[in-house]
């Protein structure tokens, strides 16, 4: 578990706000309504700024407005799938450096290899992790 103060430190270094404290901004791309709500609620409770998108178009709209510190991305989405979203984000120089954690209920080796090859930083099978573990993973990635 990563210490809370590290995150704060990172946030401070990365983007100081006029108030002197800027929340870490997380973009969640998830099509399941219930899961999306749970994720947003948990992450918000944990002190993150969270935006969510149901599908690619909404996600890229948010990305165009504001660059997230990390993206949690599902794979099976209506229309453009998660793999394509990762590919596009990594292809665009402005967004290429954003760490992306795949949060999917797919989990076969091919899916995992494909996502990692496209540039995802980690791959978590939703059913195998609790929200606390997901938060810990986010903190650990951002803490690097």
């Amino acid at each position: 578990m990563v210490e809370q103060n590290e995150i704060t430190e990172t946030a401070v270094v990365n983007a100081p706000t006029p108030t002197g404290e800027r929340k870490t901004f997380i973009l969640v791309i998830e099509d399941d309504k219930f899961l999306r709500e749970l994720l947003v609620r948990k992450l918000s409770t944990e002190g993150f700024a969270v935006e969510n998108a149901i599908e690619a178009e909404a996600a890229f709209r948010i990305l165009a407005e504001r660059k997230p510190d990390i993206i949690l991305c599902d794979l099976i989405l209506p229309g453009v799938d998660g793999f394509e979203i990762v590919r596009r984000i990594k292809a665009e120089p402005k967004t290429a450096d954003i760490p992306i954690v795949i949060l999917s209920n797919l989990g076969q080796k091919e899916d995992l290899d494909r996502a990692m090859a496209l540039g995802a930083v980690d791959f978590m099978v939703k059913a195998n992790f609790t929200l606390d573990e997901i938060v810990a993973k986010v903190r650990s990635i951002l803490g690097k």
Partner: protein, 634 residues
């Protein structure tokens, strides 16, 4: 026996039978032709010479006739009582009384002949019978005067009678005798000269004909079946011949048979004996005066037939070889090679590589088979994809609601949504654990589906086994504390050097066994994990003091969906997939897993994994539907 060998054997057999039959017909037809040819040739030659010989016989006969005619004419002269010509053997060759011809001379005459043979020249026997005067004169005729008695051919016996015993009449008959003797001597000599010449000619013929190669013997008999001439000039060769052959000659000579043909052995030679008459017309009647006998060698045509047979066998062997090689090459290229190629591809498909397609299909039945095979593999590929897709979708669809339940329960449980009392918390916890088991079941199903399709994706690299053991024990802490079970690690292997294994998969396997041990051991019990070296293998024993496995269930323990009969009632959360997964993982490591158990006392699972990379199977094994435990070891 390979297909190619079988085809070649059939080809050789068929080619041999067809060619043997074909050549047998050719040899039979040709053999008959050759035989006929030899027969025709030998007969043609025989007929040709027979004509010559008949001509000579005829000539001799004519001269004989001329002598007799001379004798008859001279006999008519007044005073001539008779004129007889006797051969040196004492047989009448010509006589005034023509019935005497061929008859033996009287003893009195023989006595006179003997005198001549003894060296006497011409002599007279005079008889004065009163009024007349008779002179009987014996005149020797020599072929060669100088050689004397040895060349004696005839004796002429003449008896003349004078009209009176007057000196003038006697002188007259003396003159007559002189004329007769000269005439007869001339005739007799010419007969002998011609006869000797003819004999020589015939003898030469009988010797010369052997040059044709097909005669073994060429024989001329006279009308007494005496040999006049034969090949090699052996006049007594048939003196002891079998009666059956003698009778054969007699039949032809007597006119009972036109000609005879018989196969016989003569002087150790297999021959065809043919007998033809020597005949000519005498006073409008065909007279048989001798025989021409030929012995044609069977070997003359048999050798040719044998040579032909050998030639045919040679050609047959060469043709068979060419036929077999050509057909063999064609069959190899058209049948055996495609089948071998297809078989290799089919093997790859059987081994799980569904990406295989048969290329270069020929436009025949085998090509058709290839097309069907390709379409079959394509179907399997689709089905496999379908199955894969189904599992993926099913897993995804199951996991999504599970994630929701899990996350929500955890949030409430953790008090994120406000305080919960202990009772509520306890109930939430059980709900949460149930959802966890469900998630595990989904994971197991996915793993097994991957193992069965050979896509589990093993990753072997050098790992630290001690680290794995530590994780294993740490993971059991929660459950063991909860159930009040003591988990003991007994490492007898000491410092384990890193070796090649798939850390994630091996942990899953060992975790499954240890979790099972904890699950089926009653509170207060003990689970011991002992590790030791066994040669090239590392052995891990997990012993518990649990409920044990009924003996009849042991062989089925590692089967998919199998649960022991004594725990089906006891617990509800076993999927029956765990040990199947364990077995698959251990087998993929080139290891073994087995179980010893006494019901009510406890169970010991033993896992052995190789510590040297060479013992790990090269390719991922497609798991069999049912895996049976190996025989229990002590």
């Amino acid at each position: 026996m390979s297909l190619g060998t079988k085809i070649n054997l059939v080809l050789i057999l068929v080619a041999t039978i067809i060619l043997t039959a074909g050549f047998w017909v050719i040899v039979s037809i040709e053999g008959v032709a050759i035989k006929q040819q030899v027969k025709n040739d030998s007969e043609t030659v025989a007929y040709m010479f027979r004509n010559d010989i008949e001509h000579m016989f005829r000539q001799a006969y004519n001269q004989q006739e001329a002598l007799q005619s001379a004798v008859s004419n001279l006999s008519k002269v007044d005073g001539v009582k008779y004129i007889n010509v006797v051969t040196a053997d004492g047989v009448y060759a010509a006589a005034t009384d023509s019935s005497l011809i061929g008859v033996k001379a009287s003893e009195e005459t023989i006595a006179q002949i003997d005198k001549i043979k003894a060296g006497e020249k011409t002599f007279d026997i005079k008889k004065d019978i009163g009024t007349t005067y008779v002179i009987k004169r014996f005149i020797p005729i020599y072929l060669d005067e100088a050689k004397g008695a040895t060349s004696l051919i005839n004796i002429v016996e003449i008896e003349v009678i004078a009209i009176s015993s007057r000196q003038a009449d006697i002188f007259e008959i003396q003159k007559l005798l002189q004329v007769i003797s000269v005439t007869i001597e001339q005739n007799a000599k010419s007969i002998t000269v011609a006869r000797v010449g003819n004999l020589r000619a015939i003898q030469r013929i009988t010797d010369d004909v052997t040059k044709f190669g097909f005669y073994h013997d060429f024989i001329i008999h006279d009308d007494k079946l005496k040999i006049i001439a034969n090949t090699g000039n052996e006049p007594t060769i048939f003196d002891n011949d079998k009666d059956v052959y003698k009778q054969l000659r007699s039949k032809v000579l007597s006119g009972k048979s036109k000609e005879e043909l018989v196969r016989r052995i003569h002087n150790d030679h297999d021959v065809v004996m043919q007998v033809f008459p020597i005949q000519y017309m005498i006073a409008g009647k065909l007279e048989r005066v001798g025989l021409l006998e030929i012995h044609v060698l069977i070997s003359a045509y048999q050798d040719k037939i044998n040579a032909l047979t050998f030639r045919m066998i040679g050609i047959g062997v060469i043709l068979t070889a060419i036929l077999v090689i050509v057909l063999g090459v064609i069959l190899r290229r058209e049948v055996v090679e495609p089948i071998t190629r297809y078989s290799k591809i089919a093997q790859k498909v059987a081994d799980g590589d569904l990406g295989q397609t048969i290329e270069g299909l020929s436009n025949d039945e085998i090509g058709q088979f290839g097309k069907v095979f390709n379409s079959m593999v394509s179907n399997i590929r689709e089905l496999d994809q379908l199955k894969s897709d189904f599992i993926t979708v099913a897993a995804h669809q199951l996991r999504t609601p599970l994630s929701g339940i899990k996350w929500a329960l955890k949030m409430i449980m953790d008090g994120d949504l406000g305080a919960v009392n202990n009772d509520q918390k306890d109930m939430l916890k059980r709900g949460y654990e149930t959802s966890e088991k469900m998630a595990q079941l989904v994971n197991d199903l996915l793993n097994i589906s991957r193992i069965e399709s050979g896509k589990y994706g093993f990753k072997f690299e050098k790992n630290d086994f001690a680290k794995l053991l530590k994780t294993l024990i740490t993971n059991t802490e929660l459950a063991s504390q909860e159930r009040n079970i003591k988990v003991i690690l007994d490492n007898r292997a000491g410092d384990i050097q890193p070796f090649s294994f798939d850390a994630d998969k091996l942990l899953i396997a060992l975790q499954n066994i240890v979790d099972n041990a904890i699950k089926y051991t009653l509170p207060g019990g003990r689970v011991t994990v002992s590790v030791e070296n066994q040669g090239d293998y590392l052995q891990v024993k997990v012993s518990d003091t649990g409920v044990g496995v009924p003996k009849e269930d042991l062989p089925k323990l590692f089967s998919k969906f199998f649960r022991a009969s004594n725990v089906v009632q006891l617990q509800t959360d076993g999927s029956g997939l765990g040990l199947f997964l364990v077995k698959s993982i251990i087998v993929h490591h080139g290891g073994q897993v087995w179980v010893d158990s006494i019901e009510g006392k406890g169970t010991t699972f033993t896992v052995r994994v190789p510590m040297i990379a060479e013992l790990i199977p090269k390719e991922e094994i497609v798991a069999e539907p049912v895996l049976v435990a190996p025989e229990a070891k002590s």
